[in-house]
Every structure is written in C-alpha cells, then in structure tokens.
C-alpha cells in the first residue's frame, strides 16, 4: 500500500488506539494488563486534542488543564471525535515516562524519560558514550511499552472481540460519562 494512501485511509488506527487507551486506563484505574506480557500503568494527563477524522472538513478540539477538565473530551467523543494526541504518563516498571503521544504519526512529543547523567557532566569520552547509551536505552524502554500497548490493541482490533466487546464497552463508557 502506498504511503500516502496509508496516511489518508488508515490514520484512524492511531486515533482509535489512543481513544481505546483512554477507555482502558479509565476503566482499569490506570493499570492495563497485557495478556501474556506485563502490566503497564497508563494515566492520561492534562492535555488532549480530539479530531473528527471521518468528516470532510476536519474539526479539532484542543483541551488543556487539570485532569478533571479532560471530561470535556468526553463531550467531544460523544460528537464522534477521536483522540489525535494526548499527554500521558506510563509506568512500565517503577519508573515514569511522560509524553505527548501522537495518533496519526505514532510520534512522541515532549518525551521525558527517567533522568540520566547528562553528557556535559561526564568526564571522559567513554562516560559520554555511556550516558548516550543509557539515554537511548531509556528512550527505547518507553517506546517498547507503548508498542506493547499498541500490539495489545491491534490484536483486539482485528479480532471478533473488537466489535463484540470493546466497541460496545467504549460506547457505554462514553454514553454514561455524564459529559
């Protein structure tokens, strides 16, 4: 499939992933258990953009503020919008990663890993390389966690369980949100 066609026709996959992720996180108190793999804590923070992707004229809503205000996002979901980007915190183990996860590009904005010794404080070239590799390792840890969550979503998305269970669960969640 041509890349431009993928962008045009399949962008919904990223938006559905983020919307499903919010649903799962909200329903499970943040703790998402990936069958056969691990449990990852996912918390939606103070920033979100929603988009009506299937409309001819794109309509976006940007929300920023306290977590409780993200409830306004629910009103946008009720209008048929899906999440295009969201600031989230994930804890694959006992360390925090925060990022603005982007749906269409699957990109990581303002990505913060747990801290490492910055290279300018490192004394030798070897230390600088060590700091680089440590930072790279941390970046990959964060991305791997997101990839595991995405894989969990994807397996559900192409299964019969998606329509039977997940979609109706999401609909009920939106319907009963009180927004």
């Amino acid at each position: 499939m041509d890349f431009l066609d993928i962008l045009r026709e399949k962008a919904f996959l990223g938006r559905e992933f983020l919307t499903w992720l919010w649903f799962k996180s909200d329903q499970l108190g943040g703790l998402i258990e990936i069958p056969g793999k691990r449990t990852i804590e996912v918390i939606f923070l103070d920033q979100m953009t929603l988009d009506l992707s299937d409309s001819e004229s794109p309509q976006t809503v940007a929300l920023k503020g306290e977590q409780s205000e993200l409830r306004e996002g629910m009103a946008a979901l009720k209008e048929g919008k899906k999440i295009e980007e969201a600031r989230i915190r994930i804890r694959p183990s006992d360390e925090d990663f925060t990022m603005v996860l982007k749906g269409t590009w699957f990109a990581f904005g303002s990505f913060r890993t747990p801290p490492v010794l910055p290279p300018q404080d490192a004394e030798s070239e070897q230390d600088a390389e060590g700091a680089f590799l440590e930072k790279t390792y941390l970046i990959e840890q964060g991305m791997d966690a997101v990839d595991d969550l995405f894989e969990y979503f994807l397996k559900l998305r192409i299964s019969d369980q998606w329509e039977l269970q997940e979609v109706s669960g999401i609909r009920n969640w939106i319907e009963n949100s009180g927004a």
Binding site: A107, F108, G109, F111, F150
Partner: protein, 203 residues
C-alpha cells in the same frame, strides 16, 4: 532540543533499501558525503549537513565518533538566512534608482527587477548571521530504525531528503499502520488489517 535533553520529541522511521559493500564503510562514506558544508545553490539555506551529536561545530567525525555500539548517532545541522523584506526593499529601491540614472530606461522590466532582487538577496545574505537549527538522530542499525529528534514538517522533509542523498536509503515514517504490518506475521491477520474500516464509538 537534542536527545541528551530532559525532554525530547521523536518520530521513528523504518530504513528501506540496500547499501553496497561493508555496512559500516557505506555508513561512513554516506556521512562524509553529506557532512555539514556550505550549499552552493540560492535559497534560504546557506549550509547544511551531518555534524557530531555532541558538537554541532564538528563535521569531521574523527575516529568514527558517530559509531556507538549498534547505533550511528548524528545530528543534522541547517543554517539558514532570511533577508528581512524591508531591508531588501530599501536596497532594491536604491539599486533601481542607480540603474535607471545610468541608462535610458524609464523603468525596469519585471524580469530585470526579479534578477536584481535575487542578486541583492544573495549579496545581503552574507551580511546576516544565520539561524542555526540542529536535529539529533539515532540510527539503530540492527532494527533498521531511525529516531529523529523533531516533529516539524519542514525539518522532517529536509532530513528525509538529506538521508536519501547521503546513504541512498529511503525513510518511511513508522505510523500505526506500518507498525501493525510489522507486528502481524500471519497472512490472515495481515488481510484483516488491510480490510479494517473505522469504528464508530457513538451509539
């Protein structure tokens, strides 16, 4: 903001294509081919290319300093100059006046005016400090994946283009669908992915 910063922005690419000969030799010659240097063409960009990830003034990469375990770590530096439009206008007016006084024309033709404007822009560029942008990248050569440190459309386009020119390899952003293609091995799963249509979450 580079990868060493507390907060980074990253987009992932899959590297596609083959390089000839030994892999790291080809990487080395690609980096040297695309190393930071002055550009010879007209336009806002006056210099561009690869520099060391920890030092944007280093375009020599002594001892293959970019090579870290299975990664190639680099930065793309882009120096650009934009002549302020009103400065250009001042010079254009004064040069036009001079030219008209010297010749017997009453006004410049649109072609002459365009040529003069371009010539003045190129001359004025050397009098202005460039704006320097530096974008980090890490190439995981085992996973054939590149992490690029900017989400800006222009920066990404320049990077994709410069990477192709340097290494002869194409970069494809790992958007969700492409990640999904990587993850699904089974033919029936791949077909199911291909046939997916958007779901409605509104009852």
């Amino acid at each position: 903001m580079g990868f060493a910063s507390r907060s980074v922005s990253i987009i992932r690419y899959r590297v596609r294509g083959e390089m000839e000969g030994s892999f790291w030799d080809a990487v080395d010659s690609g980096i040297k081919k695309g190393a930071f240097r002055n550009t010879e063409t007209a336009g806002d960009i006056v210099a561009a290319g690869w520099v060391a990830i920890e030092d944007f003034t280093d375009n020599a990469f002594a001892g293959a300093s970019y090579h870290r375990a299975n990664y190639a770590a680099l930065a793309l530096r882009i120096d650009s100059v934009k002549v302020p439009p009103r400065i250009l206008e001042i010079h254009l007016k004064s040069e036009t006046k001079k030219l008209l006084e010297q010749g017997d024309q009453k006004r410049l033709s649109s072609g002459q005016r365009r040529d003069l404007k371009e010539r003045l822009r190129e001359t004025l560029k050397s009098r202005i400090f460039p704006s320097i942008q530096v974008y980090d990248l890490m190439w995981d050569t085992l996973k054939e994946t590149v992490y690029f440190g900017s989400l800006g459309v222009k920066a990404r386009e320049r990077f994709e283009d410069h990477f192709k020119k340097s290494f002869g390899l194409t970069l494809r952003p790992i958007v969700p669908y492409i990640r999904a293609e990587d993850l699904l091995k089974d033919e029936s799963e791949k077909r199911a992915l291909e046939n997916l249509k958007p779901s409605s979450f509104v009852a």
